[in-house]
């Protein structure tokens, strides 16, 4: 191998800021539309795969494990209570479009009745250093008049941010590790 420069030479190159705007307008798939509408009504709806019986929340419109397409007939409601299965606390980084300024909790929640987790949830009503896997939580719903389908997208399978602002401790005893250890994500 040839010798490496230990430091690149100082540059007279000009850096040009080239800002580009790309707009994407996409229809939400039917499963995400039904998920969003139910959320506005205060219900969390997933889908049960008829083959493996797993319940996906949010509903994907298919089961990726059995490779079968799912439809409205497979929709099933799940609880708005569950358990934190894994989490981190994120120190926000500034970038274009970032609105977060304070460290925030990023938790996966296994809702009662669901087989898979709802990711990326904030946990409120408890200091960040007390958040733990096993913590039983319940949804903090926005007042009905304030609920929107804002923030839904076809990137990922939907989120709850327009209707549920966070999850908070439910006051129940922690769930045993066996209950959640296979659902870290």
């Amino acid at each position: 191998m040839t010798d490496a420069q230990t430091e690149p030479e100082a540059s007279s190159a000009v850096m040009m800021d080239d800002k580009v705007t790309l707009t994407y307008v996409e229809d939400l798939p039917p499963n995400t539309v039904r998920f969003a509408e139910a959320l506005v009504e205060g219900r969390i709806v997933g889908q049960r795969c008829p083959q493996c019986q797993r319940v996906y929340v949010p509903p994907k419109g298919y089961c990726p494990l059995d490779v079968v397409l799912l439809d409205e007939g497979d929709d099933t409601e799940v609880s708005d209570r569950g358990v934190v299965t894994g989490f981190t606390i994120i120190a926000p980084v500034k970038y274009y479009g970032q609105t977060k300024t304070e460290p925030f909790v990023y938790a996966s929640i296994l809702l009662d009745g669901a087989s898979g987790t709802l990711g990326g949830q904030d946990v409120s009503g408890i200091s960040a250093d007390k958040v733990r896997a096993g913590l039983r939580v319940k949804a903090v719903w926005k007042p009905e008049a304030e609920r929107t389908t804002e923030g839904q997208s076809a990137r990922g399978w939907g989120n709850v941010e327009g209707c549920i602002s966070s999850f908070e401790p439910s006051g129940e005893p922690d769930a045993p590790r066996e209950h959640y250890q296979e659902h870290v994500i």
Binding site: D3, L65, G86, I89
Partner: protein, 381 residues
């Protein structure tokens, strides 16, 4: 039925936070010309070009390999652009190797790169939305789970962070040069994604890597020793599904087992002399040692604790300084495989593991769901 193939040349850029002295084509050429020189070849000798990089949102150019046609000598030739998230650098080597193993081409140039300083990787990773979790946000919960499962002491992560940065001081191409790094400094550095501290995390780098892969005839003609690709494998699993073990992904286990089977390896910890593993956050060193069955369950952190993974240890990991010291995302996977190859070629200079004959290169990506791995040997079995 596959023909033998070998890495006969390797080049890389000096990785840095921003290579403002080079354009994107310039960055790629710095690595590619070094690889060609190392292989004793010229641009015209190359039959096909395989290019890998991570999301194009990082630089703001859609399918940049198209405009790099001239710069990479691929005009007039077959060109393939691979994209498999963080594992891409590794899968790019493997796609290029397949072209030679299939007897389609004799000499293939593979280039992988990222010029992150020209975009905003944080914005890119966030998909342009607020509340992005960055590179580490997805993995922090897995790391926390590993620590809970194994009761590993908290200093293990700091230890890996120190080891890799000290190794990097022996690698003139590495981005981070932190001669004063210490366990204390790592522990005191700001928490980014609990429990990952700033100094346990990879940098954001501009950089490129390139390898020339040749068939047996080319390997014999090459001016420097070849690294024979005696095994290669890729595995993927879905991003998120009920019951997924994201801490010890099955895809990583299966990929490793396929690899060992191809190479005739039954005791990887003993039979592999050096490993370059994709460790962007320090805890991934013990996690991959276990995740690829180099160490038993709960034993990975003990290998670290004992110093086994030091440059002079029984199982050196990341003698180059690894992803923790340089992380041009698209190139990092290729750097792992190529640095492993360089070990068995005896070309690793100051970070050479003495007597390395068999080396492992590994890259992973996505939600710890994509794996690309290869084993290199100084001799053809």
């Amino acid at each position: 039925m596959a023909e033998p193939a070998a890495i006969i040349g390797f080049g890389q850029t000096k990785h840095a936070k921003a290579r403002a002295d080079l354009s994107m084509p310039g960055l790629c050429r710095e690595a590619a010309t070094r690889a060609l020189e190392d292989a004793g070849l010229d641009w015209k000798d190359i039959d096909a070009v395989v290019i890998g990089k991570a999301p194009d949102a990082f630089e703001g150019v859609m399918q940049p390999e198209l405009f790099l046609a001239d710069a990479l000598g691929s005009a007039g030739k077959p060109m393939i652009r691979v994209h498999t998230a963080g594992s891409v650098g590794g899968s790019t080597v493997i796609v290029a190797a397949h072209l030679v193993e299939a007897g389609i081409h004799a000499r293939v140039l593979a280039v992988a790169w990222e010029k992150q300083s020209e975009g905003n990787a944080q914005w890119g990773l966030a998909g342009g939305r607020s509340g992005g979790i960055g590179a580490g946000g997805a993995f922090a919960p897995f790391i926390r789970s590993y620590i809970e499962r194994t009761n590993a002491p908290e200093y293990i992560g700091w230890q890996v962070a120190v080891k890799d940065r000290l190794n990097a001081l022996k690698n003139p191409y590495a981005h981070l040069r932190l001669p004063d790094i210490s366990l204390e400094k790592v522990k005191e550095s700001p928490m980014l994604w609990d429990p990952i501290h700033f100094l346990e995390s990879c940098p954001s780098s501009d950089g490129a890597a390139a390898v020339v892969i040749g068939n047996a005839d080319e390997a014999r003609k090459a001016p420097r020793p070849p690294a024979w690709i005696i095994a290669s494998a890729v595995r993927s699993e879905p991003t998120q599904f009920p019951g997924r073990d994201a801490v010890r992904p099955q895809a990583g286990v299966d990929c490793a087992h396929d690899l060992y089977r191809q190479a005739g390896i039954t005791n990887p910890a003993q039979e592999i002399d050096a490993a370059e593993l994709y460790v962007p956050f320090s805890w991934y060193e013990p996690m991959w040692l276990e995740g690829h069955d180099i160490a038993g369950p709960g034993e990975g952190w003990k290998m670290v604790d004992r110093g086994d993974t030091e440059l002079t240890g029984s199982f050196p990991v990341n003698p180059s300084g690894g992803v923790l010291s340089s992380n041009p995302i698209g190139a990092s996977g290729m750097l792992r495989l190529a640095e492993a190859a360089n070990q068995v070629r005896g070309q690793a200079g100051e970070h050479q593991v003495e007597g390395a004959r068999i080396a492992l290169g590994q890259a992973y990506g996505g939600n710890a769901q994509y794996f690309s791995m290869a084993i290199f040997s100084s001799t053809l079995p």
